[in-house]
Amino acid sequence: MANLTINGKVFNLDVEPDTPLLWAIRENAGLTGTKYGCGIAQCGACTVHLDGAAVRSCGVTVSEAQGKQITTIEGLASDNGLHKVQQAWLENDVPQCGYCQSGMIMAVAALLKDNPKPSDQDINDAITNICRCGTFAQVREAIHIAANA
């Protein structure tokens, strides 16, 4: 059993401590917006925030995440509406298949928290998620839109 705080809510989950956080989120907490892409922290589709920092949840265990604030794509919006990154994604019509975009958006949201006006080089350094559809041009534009929102 493990207590995980996901999107401000405490989940008491029947899950082993060495289970990757990704699978606890998807299968035990039932939040499927966080995606499985590779399982080895290469692709970033499973990116969530752990105490506000972007992490690849397939590479973090449940025990490592206990006691921390976990935010998933489902928890990014607030009562005031969508997060500005989500808004920018809508405005710029970013997703193609969309499967990588939860992770992409979470990575970008964390970047903008630390670096509200990232340069293109900052974006290149921080955003390393794989998108096979090739939305990178729209992603970059949308990051700047969100940064200026």
Partner: protein, 727 residues
């Protein structure tokens, strides 16, 4: 915000799915309703026809038969229907009819297959007619009510107006009556010059759920009492399962059952997928690797190389006498190129969820071919069509991979072992990487000959290697030969060669290694464009001519090919000085009915690091339905094409694919993404595809620029294997 409603419908239908006959739609039962028969959607709203349902609140539900995998054709197809329907675009939503319903209704929605960049071009005529017929019926219904001639009524923005009387009504108010009318016999489509919605870069209809995590992909399905399965198939194609030691995983948490599939694979079923995967990894498995266990990239390469020199070959394009002309040539140029196996690597690994009972089998999955998936369910379940159904979901990438149904079949076979329990089969990335349907492997020997005046008098291309059709569509072979291998090189059709050479011979020596080939975004255009377009540069260089001028001279009989090439040359500034240290390359091709060209600007650091600064890509697809989406397809095609050029190689050792994940099979990141400038020059009169053709020019444009920068000609993909990477 309009939303694609399919996931919601499906989520709802999970609950009723086992008891009811289908998902969200009517299933072809014509329900008597006080007179003529009206077919109803699940919520009771009337179908005006198979493509259009209109709800009382004026919501327009447009049925989309093709699959959405990111390419945007769900939105484009809706635009085509809505253009003729003259409805309010802000009230449009979409849904998928199911393959089972299509069968039950005598294929009223036509072909579901979504590949070959055909989504729009192969259905544009009948879906526009569907929209137009619905509009005519809605107008007729209003006219009948008003007792005026329909010809005096007009429709726009979902409002019908009778000008003389000043009467107006909305589609939602007359849909019920319209649904009872007979469809018009004669449906006239708008002249393209009158289009107002087609050609407009409206936003996609399926975005909202993709930014909140709410979109349900196949991997996200939840059904009551569902269990999860992880699978390992024999790593060597042609091998089989010998034994496994189930006792070793007995008692592991969550494990419910271990099942074999078709004698080649073993799957663990557990409460969660993580438990299933963990147990499967702990399960000792012994494979009988079969006759292919010693095959390697080296042995395949050697076999293909033999095909370049000897043995029978299938002629795909021939004029004059190339061999004689080459024998008499004053100058000859010869080169050998090769192209590797590549995995599609969709971001969402293969998966399908199946629920089997003694008299029914339902599957939920992402598929590029709903009808093929349906056929796979029938075959694997042993049940007839009226007892099977496939619920299509939005795909987490397709690129050709999800046109195959191997994962659907496996899910049904596993579910059959546990009747009444829904089973979600999800492949690990490792399973996905090692059991792909790979871009086929080929080599090509090219020989060109010049006369004393530096005229290209002969060109001989001999391709040796794998046929996709041999493996996947043997019915499409011609006397055992594969005409599709000449994609982009053909004398006629939708993928023709753009050059006129007086003596031309293009032939294919088929060599089919055991690795399963598949249709991979761009398909045979990818290697053929590298072979031909890089070699055209080699030929130009051999006689000291500019690559653009050299091509132009050979393209006078192919003005559409030439137009797109000229467009990129002009925009990239060909013939004018490039920025310091920047070099340019060109390529063009005709594929999927569209004419495309690409120009690249790159710089090379230390001979091994390439910075792609800028790509200019032009396309003439005849018509552009949604320029915003076409632009994204073009930019995305360069991500796919350049990922393939730099990183995309699957090698074979001991009969199996060596690459297992993104650490050994990399893909481009945002830092490596060049600026892509697209030029759309739709010339009208034909319908070409846009998802694939521009992929083919990505690699040769960059390779030609690399030669311009370094004087070194690269004839082998991927660059990874030559220690060349992105700067």
């Amino acid at each position: 915000m309009n939303q694609h409603v399919t996931p919601r419908l499906n989520r709802r239908s999970f609950v009723i799915g086992t008891a009811a006959l289908g998902g969200g739609l009517a299933v072809g039962l014509d329900i008597p309703f006080g007179g003529p028969q009206v077919v109803r959607a699940a919520d009771g709203s009337p179908e005006v026809n198979a493509w259009v349902v209109i709800r009382p609140d004026d919501t327009v539900v447009i049925r989309i038969a093709r699959s959405e995998m990111g390419q945007g054709s769900l939105t484009g197809l809706a635009q085509l229907v809505a253009e003729e329907l003259a409805c309010d675009w802000s009230k449009v939503t979409t849904e998928y009819p199911t393959p089972g319903q299509n069968v039950a209704r005598k294929r009223v929605w036509g072909d579901f297959s979504t590949g070959g960049s055909r989504g729009i071009r192969s259905s544009q005529d009948y879906v526009r007619k569907g929209g137009a017929a619905a509009r005519m019926m809605l107008i007729q219904a209003a006219a009948d009510e008003w007792k005026v001639p329909a010809a005096e009524c007009t429709a726009a923005n979902s409002v019908i107006t009778h000008k003389a009387s000043g009467k107006t009504t909305t589609y939602g108010k007359v849909a019920e009556a319209a649904a009872k009318l007979s469809p018009p016999a004669d449906v006239k489509l708008k002249d393209p010059k009158d289009w107002t919605l087609i050609g407009k870069g409206v936003k996609r209809l399926d975005t909202a759920d993709k930014v909140t995590g709410a979109m349900v992909y196949g991997a996200d399905i939840k059904l009551p009492n569902m269990l999860n399965a992880a699978i390992k198939d024999c790593p060597v194609t042609g091998g089989k399962l010998k034994s496994f030691d189930e006792a070793k995983i007995a008692g592991m948490k969550g494990v419910k059952k271990v099942v074999t599939v078709d004698g080649t694979a073993v799957a663990v079923v557990a409460d969660t997928w993580w438990h299933a995967k963990t147990a499967l990894d702990a399960l000792p498995i012994v494979w009988d690797e079969g006759p292919n266990a010693k095959v390697s990239s080296e042995s395949i390469g050697k076999w293909l190389a033999e095909g370049l020199e000897s043995g029978p070959a299938f002629v795909g394009n021939e004029n004059g006498d190339a061999k004689a002309a080459l024998a008499g040539a004053v100058k000859k140029v010869e080169a050998v190129y090769n192209y590797p196996y590549q995995n599609h690597a969709t971001m969402e690994p293969m998966n399908a969820t199946a629920l089997y009972t003694a008299d029914r089998c339902e599957v939920w999955c992402g598929t590029q071919n709903g009808e093929a998936a349906f056929a796979a369910v029938l075959e694997a379940s042993g049940l007839p069509a009226d007892k099977c159904e496939v619920h299509k979901l939005i795909l987490g990438g397709g690129f050709g991979r999800r046109g195959q149904t191997d994962y659907v079949r496996q899910a049904v076979k596993i579910a059959k072992e546990m009747p009444g329990t829904p089973i979600k089969l999800l492949w690990s990335r490792e399973e996905d990487m090692t059991h792909g349907r790979y871009h086929p492997i080929t080599q090509c020997k090219l020989t060109g000959g010049f006369d004393a005046d530096n005229n290209l008098t002969a060109l001989h291309m001999r391709i040796s290697g794998q046929s996709i059709l041999f493996s996947l569509r043997p019915d499409a072979l011609v006397n055992g030969k594969d005409p599709a291998t000449f994609q982009g090189l053909a004398p006629s059709g939708e993928a023709t060669i753009g050059y006129s050479v007086p003596n031309l011979l293009i032939e294919h020596a088929m060599r089919n290694p055991h690795i399963n080939p598949g249709f991979w975004r761009g398909v045979n255009v990818n290697q053929n464009a590298i072979y031909l377009e890089c070699f055209m540069d080699e030929l130009a260089n051999a006689i000291g001519q500019d690559p653009l001028e050299f091509r132009r001279k050979l393209m006078s009989k192919n003005p559409k090919h030439l137009a797109v090439l000229n467009a990129v040359a002009e925009k990239i500034g060909w013939g004018t000085p490039a920025p310091e240290g920047v070099y340019r390359g060109l390529a063009q091709l005709h594929g999927y009915g569209s004419y495309v060209a690409g120009a690249a600007e790159i710089s090379v650091i230390d001979g091994t690091k390439i910075k792609v600064h800028r790509i200019v890509a032009s396309t003439d697809p005849g018509y552009v339905v949604n320029p915003a989406q076409v632009e994204r397809q073009i930019a995305g095609s360069f991500v796919y094409g350049l990922s393939a050029l730099f990183y995309g190689g699957c090698t074979v050792k001991d009969g199996r694919i060596e690459q297992t994940n993104f650490d050994s099979y990399n893909s481009m990141r945002i830092a490596e993404m060049p600026k892509v400038e697209s030029i759309m020059i739709p010339s009208g009169g034909f319908w070409g595809g846009v998802g694939e053709p521009t992929i083919g020019v990505a690699a040769p444009a960059v390779l030609n620029a690399f030669f311009a920068a370094t004087g070194k000609r690269i004839r082998s993909v991927p660059l990874r294997d030559q220690n060349i990477t992105f700067a």
